[in-house]
């Protein structure tokens, strides 16, 4: 009896269910092959898992946001200078992916400069440039119409503007990272840091002994080291390898700063770390770094200015 039932079920399967199965498989194949984007999305997502979990231990290199540097300089009493930012119209020169990514970083840094030093007139223009580049880099969701409305509403509030700029940069970084676009992110960070070093030096001006702003610029050697290692990690990408070569002279100029023995601070009940040496920047170091920062910046932004 049981065999009979089985036989009956098999007949039913072959006659009715099998065509359904074939149709479902066909339908799935059609869905998969037509939905090019969804297939791509899965691949990218899988890649990000591999990046996050497979190789152990994987090294990450964190670089502070450009806004942190400007905020610190402002605390030291540095004032903004005009005509330093990467011109808005330069965006028309950024036709390939490498230049778009680098200059998304450059314009982010300019935007941090505007919002930190209260240069309201330029904020919207720089946001619009970032939006255009974000769209072209495939991360349009990080600056939408809602973001632009928030900016317009907060133009007179530099704290809010800084917060929005931070959010945009953070969202752009996360978006690129989780989509397996580490190489693009490396280019964005390279553009951002080289622009912020250039803007800082130009804003601080000539060398003075024992100037905390100049010491803080010397200390940018450390984020630059992390950036360089991050570029090296992604140097399999030709665009990143080229950018690493462009930034190398700046890193080498920072590496020439000598280290002096420094008194070690002690505070009861607190952990004090930071070694017993500090960077001791000379006038020659500073002038060399200043000149190289300008030429690196001009190369990355396709700017023609010779000096400021």
């Amino acid at each position: 009896m049981q065999n009979e039932i089985l036989k009956f079920d098999m007949n039913l399967m072959l006659k009715r269910v099998f065509p359904i199965f074939v149709a479902v498989v066909f339908h799935s194949i059609v869905l998969t092959s037509c939905g090019g984007d969804s297939g791509k999305e899965k691949d990218l997502a899988d890649t990000s898992i591999v990046n996050d979990t497979n190789i152990s231990p994987e090294a990450f290199f964190q670089v502070p946001l450009p806004g942190d540097l400007f905020l610190q300089l402002k605390e030291f009493g540095v004032k903004a200078k005009g005509n330093l930012l990467n011109p808005i119209e330069n965006i028309n020169k950024y036709t390939d992916q490498k230049l778009k990514a680098i200059n998304f970083g450059t314009y982010s840094s300019d935007l941090f400069y505007c919002s930190t030093f209260d240069q309201k007139a330029d904020v919207l223009k720089y946001f619009n440039n970032m939006k255009k580049l974000a769209d072209e880099l495939g991360i349009s969701s990080v600056i939408n119409d809602e973001t632009l409305k928030r900016i317009e509403k907060n133009l007179s509030n530099k704290d809010s503007l800084n917060k929005i700029t931070n959010e945009v940069f953070f969202d752009a970084s996360s978006n690129l990272e989780r989509n397996g676009q580490g190489a693009t992110l490396a280019l964005v960070v390279a553009g951002g840091l080289s622009e912020s070093i250039y803007l800082s030096i130009q804003s601080v001006g000539a060398f003075k002994d024992n100037n905390p702003s100049i010491q803080y610029i010397a200390d940018q050697k450390y984020p630059l080291e992390n950036l360089f290692q991050y570029l090296e990690k992604n140097a399999g990408d030709e665009k990143v390898a080229q950018t690493k070569n462009s930034i190398k002279p700046l890193k080498e100029a920072f590496d020439e700063i000598k280290e002096d023995v420094s008194e070690r601070q002690t505070v009861a009940g607190k952990n004090v770390i930071g070694g017993s040496t500090k960077l001791s920047i000379t006038k020659e170091d500073y002038e060399k770094i200043s000149a190289i920062a300008l030429s690196v910046r001009n190369e990355l932004t396709l700017n023609n200015s010779i000096s400021k």
Binding site: A23, A45, E58, Q62, N166, D219, P223, N271, I273, G274
Partner: protein, 168 residues
């Protein structure tokens, strides 16, 4: 009859597609998305100290039990820093996340949570001179579960200008 079969086929395929999407929702793929802000939302420091602000070198990522991760960040002279680690319960099962802080240049170990009292999940320090620090983080192993589990881990970095205390 054949029309009914076509309709059944269509709805069955829709069901299958949705089911596969639902299964995907519980995989690590989607978790990478919500890990992004994990440190901002979940790494709360219990002490209500003043003036510590969020530092942009914080980050979150998706991890599996027992995984080791190394990252480097810059600490600047004149600042106090606080590092806090937090992980999803399904990943850590309440066990502490071990971390070691070393000088990135000399590899000198400056702090090791495994040798410190009570396996702290945070570390606070004053930065004497600017330097790059390397943090090696090790997640607890999970031998209880046969199924591979994933979860978010957050590294929250906070900083403030050195507080000048006492009479000068």
């Amino acid at each position: 009859m054949s029309r009914i079969l076509i309709l059944i086929t269509f709805f069955a395929s829709l069901l299958l597609t949705n089911e596969s999407k639902a299964q995907k929702g519980s995989t690590p793929i989607e978790k990478t998305y919500y890990c992004t802000d994990f440190h901002k939302k979940m790494c709360k420091f219990e002490k209500k100290d003043l003036e510590f602000k969020y530092n942009s070198q914080s980050r979150s990522a998706l991890f599996r039990p027992g995984q080791v991760s190394v990252f480097s960040f810059t600490s600047f002279k004149g600042y106090d820093y606080r590092l806090t680690f937090c992980g999803e319960e399904n990943l850590t099962k309440g066990a502490p996340i071990a971390f070691k802080v070393t000088d990135a240049k000399t590899n000198t170990v400056l702090f090791d949570s495994e040798t410190a009292e009570n396996s702290p999940k945070e570390f606070e320090f004053i930065c004497n001179n600017s330097l790059n620090l390397k943090v090696e983080m090790t997640l607890p192993e999970d031998e209880s579960s046969e199924k591979a589990s994933y979860g978010c881990v957050g590294f929250l970095l906070q900083s403030r200008r050195n507080l000048q205390t006492g009479f000068k």
